[in-house]
Amino acid sequence: MKKKLLSIVLVSAMTLSLVACGSSAVSGVSQDQQGSDAQQTTADTAAETTGEGSGSDLNVMLETPVESLDPQQATDGTSFEVIADYTDGLMQMDADGQAVNALAESVDVADDGLTYTFHIRKDANWSNGEPVTAADFVFAWQRAVDPEVASEYSFMFSDIGQIVNAQDIIDGKKDKAELGVTAVDDKTLEVKLNCPVSYFLSLMYFPTFYPVNEAFFEKCSDNFATSPETTLSNGAFILDEYQPAATAIHLTKNDTYYDADTVKLPGLSYQVIQDSQQALMSYQNGDLDTTLVNGEQVDQVKDDPAFTAIGAGYLWYISPNMRDVKELQNLNIRLALTMALNREAITTDVLKDGSAPTYTGVPMDFAAGPDGSDFSADQKKFEDVCRYDADKAVEYWNKGLEELGATSITLTMIHDADDAPIKVAQVVKEQLETTLPGLTVELQQMPKKERVERMQEADFELGLTRWGPDYADPMTYLGMWITNNPNNYGFWSNAEYDKIISDCTTGEIAMDPEARWAALYDAEKIAMDDAVIFPLYTQCNAELISTNVSGIEFHPVALNRVYKRAVKN
């Protein structure tokens, strides 16, 4: 179902690019990427070129261990980050999150946008001395769509990347050799697409698209990417200390890297710390150069110059189940609930990590329109239906109760058993109960996996959930609320809304960025007027970055942190 959505979106993006960028795909990428740029945060963009990196490693805290260093198997941010430390793709992210040439020296894009020809750098080598060849990409990409490998991110090739035959191979209908990617010669890679994909080059920095050396892979067989000996580097660093699910990972600068001059750090040292108290103390002790800070600890560090809030891209919201819960089918009740929420208090008094209160269905700072402005910059555009107003909330509430013929309502809210959701859920409960007379909110916490399953099966009343953007277009959010989308947790259905979304993807306005933008706004308005979700806030992470460290690049999508240009004095 998600696939369908993605392909719809893809088509829309494709049409957008046709209009916007003509034959130059590279400028098309930058156009498409602009939205997300606004959110890129850089610890200190002024990449100081003060001499060669002085002797010591950068010590970084990780919240969770690496799940897999196999680029085609990894799915989580931690794994992506570490893989990207020692592997380059055809493209890499720059400080602003734009795709820039990495292993690819140049790219030729056919005028119809259906064929990409990548010319791989002559000086790109694996750490065992072998050159990086086009065949390495072909091998890796065929693995990614191979049903036997069952890569979770195969949809990056089919739905999002639209590479020829990818879908059929994933479905087992065609052999993986038929994938639309060929090694023309050692250093030339040709990719064929089903239809033009405006952001195709920006996918190239996504680790699922990274190359794997076939000979080396065969040699490692089942143990590929489970130890330093079974990984090959072609990037800024070389992995030299790792074991599966390790709590400590170490990488050393790769001197044979083609761009080794840019790399200032002699090494990179990761430490998994699951207890936030230990993490902060280690930072204070000087054992860490950067660490995540828990909400409670912000009081302790908020005056510190090293303290920063980094955009994480997620929109947190409450989804009401409108299919099975008759109280929540009532619009007045839903409006009352969303108006009774004091989002400001949640972010400033409880989370304290810089998260921003959000009153729109699409979060701020990630999708820029044709004129370059943020789709959700105006947080007051839906203030008739989404704001904090206790009096109005009570008014709607009483009206709703009257319509239902009830005097009191009890609702259960399910949420993840993690730190932030537990806190938010408690405040939400309190805010709703104190504002709305006769309402009781019961909380049920559970592991995330279980919560997702229950929401997808409509086995809930209210659900606290979050969604991270997959690409820089409002559609990554708006597409969720079309009828029968599995992530349309409210089971909401609106014919007009569905029509706008389909018009924006395949219809006439899909060709017209401005009209499409306006139509997307209309769609969002329909959803907001109907209180399909109660948006809460856009997530930020509070971090401490030691003042003698600069140049760590933060991104809300794909590679969360890039250290290639980091400097530690």
Binding site: S68, F155, T247
Partner: protein
Amino acid sequence: MRKYILKRVVTALFTLLAITLILFILMQLMPGSPFNDEKLNEAQRASLYAKYGLDQPIIIQFFKYVGNMFRGDLGVSYKISKNTPITQLIATRLPISIGVGFAAVLIGAVVGLLLGLLAAFKHDTVWDTLATIISVIGVSVPSYVFALALSYQFGFKLKWFPMLFSAKDVLGSSVLPSISLSMFTMASIARFTRSEMIEVLGSDYMLLAESKGLSGKKLVFSHALRNALIPIITVLAPLVVDLMTGSLVVEKIFSIPGVGSLLVNAIQSNDYNVVIALSFIYSAMYIGIMLVVDIMYGIIDPRIRVAKEGD
């Protein structure tokens, strides 16, 4: 004796088999699956299920699993460390956990014993009170609070020991976790030793030994201690197992790459194979310890051996 041990080992194996089956059934009941990420669609989930054989009936899964287990194959992890053979995951982690755990038992048993002896011999003096207070704190405060306090005081303030586990300094960085873990064991042993010793010291045979003119040291070690040891071992065995529980939390706090933290992560991410494998190992260790304790009884107290053999 050999026949007895053999019999016990065979029963233990069957018990383990039954435990594995129960774990399988429990896994089946567990809500969620390792593959229900929001970003996955139905078809992908189905293919992942097929890949790992999770689409087959549980009983087939079980027999396959047991079959593989006899060949030393515990399957692969689905989630926390994708496709890594669990044997490989455990190979590096189990020694670390056992090391820290063993250090904790050792510290706990030795210090506990000493404290208990001190309290018993200096009965009703300041020493007794002091030993009692220490042991009381040990049983009253959870180990993760000790972990926090020790790491704050000795790791952060005084910087005597590292706060986090480090492969480069295994010994130094194991000090704080081992001590935090040992507190409960130490306290329990101290209390128990004290009361056992007081009882033994007041017994008739001790009076007899004393009147025979045995010297202090010999009296304590060959008569009193040996008799007090049996009940102490009895309490030590379950304490060792409790230690495993504590280790789950302490490993998380000190970032120790052991099996305890692995198990917690696996449970939270529905990584069935890892949960089953680790639970199995914990069970095997537990049953193993119980077996050893039973055999040790036999060595310390021949009467039990005779009784058990007749069982």
